[in-house]
């Protein structure tokens, strides 16, 4: 019996004597308390959390040398060796900060992102579809952002005094050739790709990463939806056509196939058109996209492969009046066939390696007939890319990429069997280092080099950017770089040995996002060099040289607010561009026709729950387009009246799976003029007769019904964005 007691007493005594009390305080480097940190002995369950004042205290039965681990969100884990011998330990732990990519500073100079996750986002993927006035066109939505100019007779993206060819477009990192539909001159085009395909975009108006090249002004990188949520069928019935998309999803893969047909003839027969259509635009397209993922990032290895195929055909015939001639004018007939395929992959491997890349091919063929003269144009672009990124530490990562482009272009006058063509192979390498000095200071430096077989030229362009986060939420970034671009196809085919044109960018940006309000201000200076100049005799170019130059400078502002007015989301943009250039057929340094000085837009979206509707309006405005009037001396001496367009839209969701959408552009019916065309010869009185370049119709109205068929009835077409 005594024995029992002895044992019992012995055990309790032992337990009491073996306990070591560990207490102390956790602070950051400045001595501020770090509450909620995890303090424990490595390899055991013994531990606790620091309290509001950073203090902690716990006991352990372990003895001897032990490692005390202290972890807290936003700090580097810290290990301290301690000796547990039954005596109370008093410790002072000072943690040093770690890089937290979620809240750390990001480079916002020149960049505008659309996405769901990041802080530096200005648009949501959904905005591209729901911005009224954009009519579902990606370009249309981006034109409401700062740094862009609406050029109504063109429809493409014009960025900061640059022409449309200065913007390169990428899908999942791979370049897209002929991203816009082929069209006749002064008839606006659209982006060929449906906005529903993309879950995010990165739109840079300058100073962009060494990853992108062959673009003097701007890069637009679109990323496609990863795995769709569910299997569903989407029917669209529109005033201009219809289509069907079927999505099938598995656990690790998905297939989407779609087909659409558009014909503007019925609409244009009902609503008076200012363009003289013989055959209204008609098109079809079909797409297949396959996605497959593997692994789990938590296991160290995971990846994604996407394959996307798009093919389409378009046709139209239009009559365009000749200034000074009373007849119907020139008859322009256009038939277009276009295909794009893109296979891309992403793979994150062990030891902080990350790989991505892919292959893309675009093929565009235009059969153009101007009156009796047929012309066949074929443009092909192949792009192969492989990139390796290594994170050496949370602070430092290095990206290296290799790219190969084949660009082939040909023009054939089929009646006389005369062909001009060229093929160019371009090899590019880029390297870019990112370094976080702290959560508040980041620097990115890169260099991109290239070689063109046709131009027989080697080039190297440095890029640099830095961003500094202030004490409050705001941050400054600065970016600078050199950019090269070979001239447009229609020029290169006439003169094969043309070299790179060049631009240098300097950008200073301030960005603040706080509680659903975003403000962005940016000033820029862009210098153009080696621009191509030529003589233009009614579309026949000759006498090429690369002595052109120019500049663009200005500033722009963006404010978005989703908080101040209940249920309402709006943004306001103002861009000032002072640009002059001597290029193309310009003889002097002048403001180009596509660069209005003052540009602005207001976009408002209001969610009316009682009406189950989203009501939208957008107003886009600029101070007018310069144009040359041959009746006066000099060039670009005149300016059109200001441009203004007020659009409205209404989306009605009677049920979760049905969307009824109605929209109308230019509701005020303003007669916008984008420039003037003049007769080549003066009339009897010695004056050149001019004709305004205007809109295809006063207004464009659009109605559509989107129905989604899925097993749970809550799905609709916007779910995947």
């Amino acid at each position: 019996m005594k024995l029992y007691f002895t044992i019992l007493i012995f055990f309790t005594a032992f337990a009491a004597s073996a306990g070591t009390k560990i207490s102390g305080i956790v602070t950051d480097q400045k001595g501020e308390a770090v509450p909620g940190s995890n303090v424990y002995i490595k390899g055991s369950y013994d531990g606790t959390s620091s309290d509001v004042n950073g203090g902690f205290s716990f006991e352990t039965d372990l003895s001897g040398k032990q490692v005390l681990m202290v972890q807290a969100l936003g700090f580097k884990p810290q290990e301290t060796v301690i000796e547990c011998n039954g005596q109370t330990l008093e410790l002072k732990i000072k943690l040093s900060g770690s890089i937290n990519l979620l809240t750390a500073v990001t480079i916002t100079a020149g960049a505008m992102e659309a996405g769901d996750e990041k802080k530096s986002v200005v648009l949501k993927p959904l905005d591209i579809v729901t911005t009224s006035g954009a009519m579902g066109d990606i370009t249309g939505a981006l034109l409401t952002l700062p740094g862009t100019s609406t050029v109504g007779n063109d429809g493409r993206l014009f960025v900061r005094g640059g022409d449309a060819s200065e913007t390169s477009i990428f899908i999942d990192g791979l370049q897209v050739g002929n991203a816009y539909g082929s069209t006749a001159s002064n008839v606006p085009t659209r982006n060929r790709f449906s906005a529903n395909l993309f879950r995010g975009s990165f739109f840079s108006t300058g100073g962009y990463s060494a990853e992108y090249g062959q673009a003097l002004s701007s890069a637009l990188a679109l990323s496609t939806v990863n795995l769709p949520l569910r299997s569903q069928g989407d029917v669209s019935i529109m005033s201009v056509g219809g289509g069907y998309t079927q999505t099938l999803t598995g656990k690790q893969n998905a297939l989407t196939a779609s087909a659409n047909y558009y014909n503007l003839a019925p609409y244009q027969s009902l609503v008076k058109q200012d363009f003289d259509w013989e055959k209204s635009p008609e098109s079809w397209d079909s797409e297949i996209s396959l996605r497959h993922k593997w692994g789990n990032a938590a296991n160290g290895k995971a990846g994604f492969i996407k394959a996307y195929f798009h093919t389409e055909g378009n046709r139209m015939t239009i009559w365009q009046k000749i200034p000074g001639d009373n007849g119907r004018g020139d008859r322009i007939q256009l038939r277009n066939r276009y295909s794009y395929s893109n296979v891309s992959f992403r793979h994150s491997g062990k030891k902080d390696w990350f790989f991505y890349g892919g292959l893309a091919f675009s093929h565009n063929s235009d059969a153009l007939k101007r009156n009796a003269d047929p012309l066949r144009r074929t443009n092909q672009l192949a792009h192969a890319k492989i990139v390796a990124v290594k994170d050496f530490s949370p602070r430092f990562s290095l990206k290296n990429g290799l790219e190969w482009f084949v660009k082939a272009y040909s023009e054939t006058m089929t009646d006389v069997n005369r062909t001009r063509n060229y093929t160019d192979h371009q090899l590019n390498h880029f390297a870019e280092a990112t370094y976080y000095f702290s959560n508040r200071l980041i620097m990115v430096a890169g260099v991109r080099s290239g070689h063109s077989s046709l131009a027989e030229q080697v080039w190297m362009t440095p890029r640099f950017s830095v961003a500094w986060k202030l004490d409050h939420q705001g941050q400054f970034s600065f970016a600078a770089g050199k950019f090269k671009q070979l001239p447009e196809e229609k020029i290169r085919v006439a003169q094969n040995n043309l070299q790179n044109t060049a631009a240098t960018h300097y950008i200073l940006n301030y960005f603040i996002v706080n509680n659903n309000r975003t403000f962005r201000a940016e000033s820029f200076y862009k210098i153009y060099d080696h621009l191509v100049t030529y003589d233009d005799a009614a579309g026949n170019y000759s006498n090429f040289s690369q002595n052109g130059s120019g500049y663009a400078r200005g500033m722009d502002f963006f404010y978005r607010d989703r908080k101040s007015i209940k249920g309402t989301d709006f943004w306001i943009t103002y861009s000032f561009v002072d640009s002059k250039r001597k290029y193309a057929a310009y003889e002097t340094l002048v403001q180009p026709s596509f660069a209005p000085k003052h540009n602005g837009s207001i976009v408002v979206k209001h969610f009316a729950s009682a009406l189950k509707s989203q009501l939208g309006t957008s107003w886009s405005w600029n101070s007018g387009y310069p144009f040359s009037n041959p009746n006066r001396t000099g060039e670009m001496q005149q300016k059109t009246k200001m441009y203004s367009d007020l659009s409205i839209s209404w989306s009605y969701l009677p049920r979760p799976d049905i969307i009824l959408h109605v929209a109308c552009s230019n509701v005020l019916g303003r007669n916008n003029v984008f420039g003037y065309r003049y007769a080549l010869q003066p009339d009897e009185s010695g004056a050149y007769i001019g004709l305004p370049v205007g809109q295809g119709a006063k207004r464009f109205a659009f109605a559509a019904l989107f129905i989604t068929i899925s097993r749970d009835k809550n799905a609709n077409q916007l779910n995947n964005l």
Binding site: M1, Y4, P35, G36, S37, N38, Y40, G43, S44, Y45, G47, T48, S49, D51, V52, Q71, L73, G74, N100, L102, T103, D116, K124, P125, L126, L229, R230, N296, A297, A298, N299, N515, N516, R562, K563, D569, S609, K612, L653, P654, R655, P656, D712, N714, A715, L718, N719, N720, L721
Partner: protein
Amino acid sequence: MNKLTFIIAVLLLAVLSVKAQDSPFQKIMKKEIGKINKADSLSQFQQSANAFSRIAELNPTEWQPLYYQALACTFQGMNHKLTPDKKDEALAKAEELVKKAEAISADNSEIIALKGFITMAKVSADPAGRGQSLSGQALAEFGRSLAIDSKNPRALALMAQMEAGIARFFGSGTEKACSLAKQSMAIFAAQDEEALTAAMKPTWGKRIAESMSKSCE
């Protein structure tokens, strides 16, 4: 006297040996699960998260500690005292943990339901900005969870909440939401909480189901 002491000693030993059947892992898990089920403040959830993080480190092949750590982070991310940035930070941590848990236990109805819960928390951190894009994702996640285990009361209750939101928006009937809430309540009522906790199985969510069924009455 002697006999009595003997009996007491034997009883004590018996109790001790029953307790000893639980591994240290199970023991500490039970203790911490008990704590998180009672936690209702930011610091208590942080303490739970830290405790489960310590357990996860020692038991890298078990999904439960990661699951509960993620759950603690999710509750933090839903606390209205936090700024939107801090909420996102906590929810990003929760997402990271739940991915790790999924890597250990794939096709786990509970883990997938938690994923949906995190997505819901992300929506509630910024309803205007994320509602349209993420509520579909949350619905799909609850759907996947229920496809694996149609009797998961948490997935049912959360799905009921989502359905109620949709019904409110479209002014349609709440029958679907209420029937889900009812199913969830029935399962919660029938569950043996102690047995589930002993098996380290999740038991939380009853309050969500209760408030849902109350709004149905």
